[in-house]
C-alpha cells in the first residue's frame, strides 16, 4: 500500500462520521433499489418458471355449455397449441367455524390422464382419487390457510341445491390462482372465497353437465396471433353461450401479479433516484471541503513531483471508499429487507415456492450508479484542485469578500444580534453553497413526506371504501339473478333493518380499440348503502340512462363523460349495447362501472332481476341472521363488510405499511445524514473565523450562535420548500406506482407535514448541539494555526 493510501485511510478515519453519514444515505438508496429490483426478479422469474412448469394457458374462455366434441374444433383453430376443457362452477360452502356462508369455485380435474394446462401443484395430501373414491375435494392453499384446513378435514358445499359433505384430499396451488380473489374483486378475501378441484365426472354429474364443458383454456402455438385466436374462439363458442375469450392481460390473477411488479418498478426508480442524488450532493460537499482544507497539501504533493493524475486519483479513491461503504451496507440492507418483503408476498401470492433472488445485475448497476454519482460529485472539486498551479496554492487563500447582508442594507440590522448578522453574511457570502445546503435540507424534508403519504392514503382508502362508499353490514348474493321480489325475502331475514338490491353483470366494455372486462353494478338511483361517489367527494345520483364509471377506468379507456361505450354482456343472453358515459366516480379498489338498476334491467331485457342485496343488520340478531342465511339455499354468498375491511388491513395495508416503515426509516436516516453533514461542513468552514472571534473576546454562546444561527436560518428557509417538493414527490411516486388494480389516492395531511418538520427540527437541533459543543471545545491556538 502506498503512503498516499495510508494518508487516505487516516483522513477517512478523521472524517469518519461524515463519511458514514454519506455512506448511509447512499446505502438507503441502494438498499431500496436492490430490494425492489430483487423482488421484481424474484416475482417475475418465479412466476414465469411456475407458468412454464405448470403450463399456464394463454387464452381463457367461459361459456354456458358445449358438448365435449367442440374441444376438437377448438384444437383445430389455427394457432392453437393445446386445449383444456372442463367445468368451473361457483357453489355455496358451509365451512366449519365460519358463521357466514362462503363461496367456492369448483374446477374439474380431467376424467382421464393429467391436466394438460394449468396443472396443479400439490402442497400436501393428494389430488382427489376420483375413480375409486367419491366425495373428495382439493382445496386452494389461501382458503385452506385462512381456515386452518388440512387434508382429511371436511367441508360442506351446496351442489345444485343439495348440500353434501366433502373430505379434503389435499391442499393445492394453481398457476391460475396465484392471487386467489373473487372474480371482479381487487382484494383477496380468503375467508369467504376459495378455489377447489374435483374429478370431472362427479362435478359434471352433480350439475347435469356430463359430456359437456363450460370452461376453456388454451395455449398458442409459437408465432400465433392472440387476437386472431380469440376471435376464432369467440365465433366457435358463440352458439354455446360463450362469454368472450380473453388473454392473460385480462386474467385476474395474472394481472394482479403484473401490477405488483409494476408498482415495484415504479418504486425501484423513484426513491433511489432521489436518495442517490442527495448522496452525490453530499459527496460533493464533503469532498469539496476536504480538498479546500488540503489545498496546501495538494500544492506540496505537486511541488514534490506528484502528477495531476496521482493527486486526482487520490481524491477519487477517497470518495470511492465512501461509495464502497455505501454499497456494502446498501447491499446487505437490501438483501435483508428483500427477504422480509418476500415473506410478506406469501400473504397475497401463492407460488409453490417464492424465494428471494438477489438481482446481481442491479448490484453491479447500483455500484456503478453510486460510483458515478460520487464521481460526478467530486469531479469538479478534484479538477479545480489539480488545475491549481502549485505556486498559487502555496499562497494563502484570498480573504473572503464580505458585504453587509441584504437585511442590513434594508436597515433591519438593529433587529438582529451580531451573531445573527454574521450568520446572515455567511449565507450571503456564498450564495450558491447556501442555496445548495438549503436545497439539501429541503430534500431531507421532502423525502419524509412520501412514506407517510402512503400511510395516509391507505387510511383514506379504508375510510372511503368502507364508510363512505359501502355502508351496509353485509352483502348477500344470490346463486343466480332472481326476481326483484327476492328483496322482500331479504328484508324478512331476522335482524335486517334495511336492504337495497343490486344487480351485478359481467361485461366487456369497449371504447375504440380498448376493451376491459369488469362487473357492471346496477344500483338504486340514489342508494344509501352502496353509494357512487365522485371526486369531490359527493354522492352521485344514477340517471335513468347511461353509465357511470370510475375515473381511472375512463382514463385508461381514454373516454370522457358524453362519450359512448359498448358494453357486451357476458352472462345469459349475449347482447351488445351502446351506452353513454354520464359521470365519473372515484374508487380505489379496482375499476368499476355503475348503472341505475332499472335502466340496467331494461337494457338486459330480462325483467326486474337482482343479484343480491346490501343489508344493514341489527347486530343483536347476528347469530340468527347468519344461520337463517345458511339455511337459505338461494343465497350463495354473504360478505361481511368488517371482515373485508379487516382482510384489507391485514394484507394490503400491512404490506404497504411495511414498505412505508422501511421508507420512513430510510428517509429519517437520510434527513439526519444531510443535516448533520451540513452542520459539520459549516463548522469546518468557519472554525478559524470562530476561533478568531473567541480570541477577540466573544463568548462561547455568541460564537455558537453564529453557527447555529446559520443552520437555523437555512432550515427555516428549507422547510416550506421541502414540504412543497415532498408533496410533488408523493404525487409523482403515486402516479408512477398506481395501476388499474392497485391504487392509492394522494393524501397529504397536516400530521404528515408536522412529522417531517419535527424530524428535520430534531435533526437540526441535534446537529446544532453537536456543533455548539465542538465550538466550545475549539483549541484557540491550534485553530488559528491549522484547522481541519
Amino acid at each position: 500500500m502506498s503512503l498516499l493510501d495510508t494518508k487516505l485511510l487516516r483522513d477517512l478515519r478523521a472524517l469518519r462520521s461524515q463519511a458514514i453519514a454519506v455512506a448511509l444515505v447512499m446505502a438507503c438508496g441502494l438498499a431500496m433499489m436492490i430490494m425492489t429490483r430483487s423482488l421484481i426478479l424474484s416475482l417475475a422469474t418465479t412466476r414465469d418458471h411456475y407458468y412454464e412448469e405448470h403450463r399456464f394457458a394463454d387464452v381463457f374462455a367461459r361459456l354456458k355449455r358445449a358438448p365435449n366434441s367442440v374441444r376438437e374444433e377448438l384444437a383445430a383453430i389455427p394457432g392453437v397449441a393445446h386445449v383444456q376443457t372442463g367445468i368451473a362452477i361457483q357453489v355455496t360452502l358451509d365451512v366449519p367455524g365460519l358463521a357466514e356462508p362462503a363461496v367456492g369455485l369448483i374446477n374439474s380435474l380431467p376424467e382421464r390422464g393429467e391436466q394438460v394446462l394449468n396443472r396443479l401443484h400439490v402442497r400436501s395430501g393428494r389430488l382427489p382419487a376420483g375413480r375409486t373414491t367419491v366425495g373428495e375435494l382439493a382445496v386452494g392453499e389461501a382458503f385452506a390457510e385462512a381456515h386452518g384446513l388440512r387434508p382429511g378435514d371436511s367441508i360442506a358445499a351446496v351442489l345444485n341445491g343439495a348440500k353434501e359433505t366433502f373430505r379434503l384430499s389435499g391442499i393445492v396451488l394453481s398457476p391460475e390462482f396465484i392471487f386467489e380473489a373473487p372474480p371482479g374483486a381487487a382484494l383477496p378475501d380468503n375467508k369467504t372465497y376459495g378455489v377447489f378441484w374435483m374429478p370431472y365426472r362427479e362435478l359434471a354429474t352433480a350439475f347435469q353437465l356430463y359430456g359437456a364443458f363450460n370452461n376453456v383454456s388454451l395455449t398458442l402455438a409459437p408465432g400465433a396471433s392472440e387476437p386472431a385466436v380469440i376471435a376464432a374462439v369467440n365465433r366457435l363458442l358463440a352458439p354455446y353461450g360463450g362469454r368472450g375469450a380473453y388473454g392473460r392481460i385480462d386474467h385476474a390473477s395474472h394481472r394482479r401479479v403484473d401490477d405488483e411488479i409494476r408498482v415495484l418498478v415504479g418504486l425501484s426508480v423513484a426513491f433511489p433516484l432521489v436518495f442517490l442524488s442527495v448522496a452525490a450532493f453530499m459527496v460533493n460537499s464533503v469532498m469539496s471541503r476536504q480538498i479546500a482544507l488540503q489545498r496546501e497539501q495538494i500544492a506540496m504533493l505537486k511541488a514534490c513531483g506528484f502528477a495531476n493524475r496521482q493527486v486526482g486519483a487520490h481524491y477519487f479513491k477517497f470518495s470511492l471508499a465512501i461509495v464502497a461503504g455505501g454499497v456494502l451496507a446498501g447491499a446487505l440492507g437490501g438483501i435483508v429487507l428483500g427477504h422480509q418483503l418476500v415473506e410478506m408476498y406469501h400473504l397475497f401470492f401463492r407460488f409453490p415456492q417464492l424465494d428471494f433472488q438477489l438481482d446481481a445485475r442491479v448490484l453491479v448497476f447500483a455500484t456503478a450508479a453510486s460510483a458515478g454519482a460520487a464521481f460526478a460529485g467530486v469531479a469538479g472539486a478534484v479538477r479545480r484542485a489539480v488545475r491549481l498551479p502549485p505556486a498559487e496554492a502555496m499562497r494563502p487563500e484570498a480573504p473572503a469578500n464580505f458585504q453587509p447582508s441584504l437585511v442590513e442594507r434594508l436597515g433591519l440590522a438593529r433587529w438582529f444580534s451580531a451573531s445573527l448578522r454574521m450568520a446572515l453574511r455567511n449565507i450571503q457570502r456564498r450564495p450558491v453553497r447556501s442555496a445548495l445546503t438549503c436545497l439539501a435540507l429541503a430534500l431531507a424534508t421532502a423525502i419524509l413526506i412520501v412514506p407517510n403519504s402512503f400511510r395516509d392514503g391507505i387510511a383514506y382508502v379504508i375510510d372511503f371504501q368502507w364508510d363512505v362508499v359501502q355502508r351496509q353490514t353485509v352483502t348477500l348474493s344470490l346463486v343466480e339473478p332472481g326476481p326483484a321480489r327476492a328483496l322482500s325475502d331479504f328484508k324478512h331475514l331476522p335482524g335486517v333493518v334495511w336492504a337495497e338490491p343490486f344487480r351485478f353483470v359481467p361485461i366487456e366494455l369497449r371504447a375504440g380499440p380498448i376493451t376491459r372486462r369488469l362487473t357492471l353494478q346496477g344500483l338504486p338511483e340514489r342508494g344509501t348503502l352502496s353509494r357512487v361517489i365522485d371526486g369531490e367527494p359527493r354522492q352521485l345520483t344514477l340517471p335513468p340512462r347511461g353509465i357511470v364509471m370510475s375515473a381511472k377506468l375512463a382514463e385508461v379507456m381514454q373516454i370522457k363523460p358524453g362519450d359512448e361505450v359498448v358494453a357486451r354482456v357476458l352472462e345469459g343472453r349475449e347482447r351488445e349495447i351502446a351506452v353513454p358515459v354520464v359521470g365519473l366516480a372515484e374508487d380505489f379498489a379496482g375499476t368499476a362501472a355503475y348503472m341505475e338498476l332499472d335502466a340496467l334491467n331494461r337494457l338486459l331485457l330480462e325483467g326486474d332481476r337482482v343479484s343480491g342485496a346490501h343489508v344493514v343488520l341489527d347486530r343483536g340478531h347476528w347469530g340468527e341472521f347468519l344461520s337463517a342465511v345458511k339455511r337459505t339455499p338461494r343465497i350463495a354468498g354473504c360478505i361481511i363488510k368488517d371482515s373485508l375491511r379487516e382482510g384489507f388491513r391485514k394484507t394490503t395495508a400491512e404490506s404497504i405499511g411495511l414498505l412505508q416503515k422501511i421508507y420512513l426509516l430510510f428517509a429519517t436516516i437520510v434527513a439526519f445524514g444531510i443535516i448533520y453533514n451540513s452542520a459539520r461542513i459549516s463548522l469546518s468552514e468557519r472554525a478559524r473565523e470562530l476561533a478568531t472571534l473567541r480570541v477577540l473576546g466573544f463568548s462561547r454562546g455568541e460564537v455558537g450562535a453564529v453557527l447555529v444561527g446559520e443552520l437555523v436560518l437555512l432550515t427555516l428557509a428549507a422547510l416550506p420548500l421541502g414540504l412543497v417538493i415532498g408533496s410533488g414527490f408523493a404525487k409523482g411516486i403515486l402516479t408512477a406506482v398506481n395501476t388499474e388494480t392497485v391504487r392509492l389516492p394522494l393524501v397529504l395531511t397536516p400530521a404528515n407535514y408536522a412529522f417531517a418538520v419535527l424530524v428535520v427540527a430534531v435533526a437540526s437541533a441535534a446537529s446544532a448541539l453537536f456543533a455548539a459543543r465542538k465550538v466550545a471545545g475549539i483549541d484557540l491556538v491550534g485553530a488559528l494555526k491549522a484547522i481541519d
Partner: protein
C-alpha cells in the same frame, strides 16, 4: 569558485520576466533577471517582502512558467516544458522547502519522507534522510507532535531524500525563532556540503548572507546586487 565556474551552470537565466494578470491589473513580479547558478553552491536570495523572491524560486523549481526570458536547466529549456515534463523535473531534480513546512498532518515524520521517496528514481532511505537532519529519534511522530523547527527539518529531509540536484528553500526559517532557525540552516548547509547539492535559500534576513557563496539581492523584480563571499561562514556562527 573556480571549479564551479569552469563547469556549465545548473541554471542559466537571462532576461527572466513574470507578469501576473493583464492590462491595468497586471503585476510585474520579475522584470528581467539574469543569473547563473552552479552545482555545489549555496545561494542566498535577499529582498524585501514583495520583491519577487518567491516568484523567482518558483520559476527555478518548475512550479510556474516565465512570461519572457530564457530559463535553462542543464541546457534544457524549462520554459518550454509541458506539464508532464515539469512534473518529472520536480520529482527527480528539485527539493522544495516551504516556509509553512507543508507536511501531511496524518502521516508520521518517516511517512512524510517516504511518501516522496516512493515516487523517486534513486532515493535514500527515509531514515537516512531524517538522520541527516538530526531527527533519527523522532521518526514516528506526527507533525502535530513536533516543534516548528523539527517540522521544518522533516520538510528538509523530505526534500533531500530524493537526492535532488537543487534544494530550493523559501524562507525556511521565517516562522522559527533564532536558535531553531539555525538548526534548520545547519541541516541545509550540511546537505549542501556533503551531497554537493545546489541550495538556494530565500530570506528577507540579511544576516543569513554570511553562510552563502553568493548573495543576490532583489528589489522590485530586479537583481540589484550580487555579492560573492570569499569565505563562507558557518550557520552556527550567524548572529541575529
Amino acid at each position: 569558485m573556480p571549479a564551479a565556474v569552469q563547469t556549465s551552470p545548473v541554471f542559466h537565466v537571462r532576461g527572466l520576466a513574470r507578469v501576473y494578470g493583464e492590462g491595468d491589473a497586471a503585476v510585474i513580479a520579475l522584470r528581467g533577471v539574469d543569473l547563473d547558478l552552479f552545482s555545489g553552491e549555496l545561494i542566498v536570495l535577499l529582498g524585501a517582502s514583495g520583491s519577487g523572491k518567491s516568484t523567482l524560486l518558483n520559476q527555478l523549481g518548475g512550479l510556474d512558467s516565465p512570461t519572457h526570458g530564457t530559463l535553462l536547466y542543464r541546457g534544457a529549456n524549462l520554459a518550454a516544458f509541458g506539464e508532464a515534463e515539469l512534473t518529472l523535473f520536480r520529482r527527480d531534480a528539485v527539493g522544495f522547502v516551504f516556509q509553512a513546512y507543508n507536511l501531511i498532518p496524518s502521516l508520521t515524520a518517516r511517512e512524510n519522507v517516504a511518501l516522496i521517496t516512493e515516487i523517486c528514481r534513486d532515493p535514500m532511505a527515509p531514515e537516512e534522510a531524517l538522520a541527516l537532519v538530526g531527527l533519527a529519534d523522532r521518526m514516528d511522530h506526527f507533525p502535530a507532535q513536533l516543534s516548528g523547527g523539527e517540522q521544518q527539518r522533516v520538510a528538509i529531509a523530505r526534500a533531500i531524500a530524493k537526492r535532488p540536484e537543487v534544494l530550493l528553500c523559501d524562507e525556511p526559517t521565517g516562522a522559527l525563532d533564532v536558535r531553531t532557525g539555525i538548526t534548520v540552516l545547519e541541516a541545509i548547509e550540511k546537505i549542501n556540503r556533503e551531497l554537493g547539492t545546489l541550495a538556494v535559500i530565500i530570506t528577507h534576513n540579511a544576516i543569513l548572507a554570511d553562510m552563502a557563496n553568493r548573495v543576490f539581492t532583489l528589489s522590485d523584480g530586479r537583481i540589484v546586487s550580487v555579492r560573492e563571499n570569499a569565505r563562507r561562514g558557518l550557520a552556527r556562527d550567524l548572529a541575529w
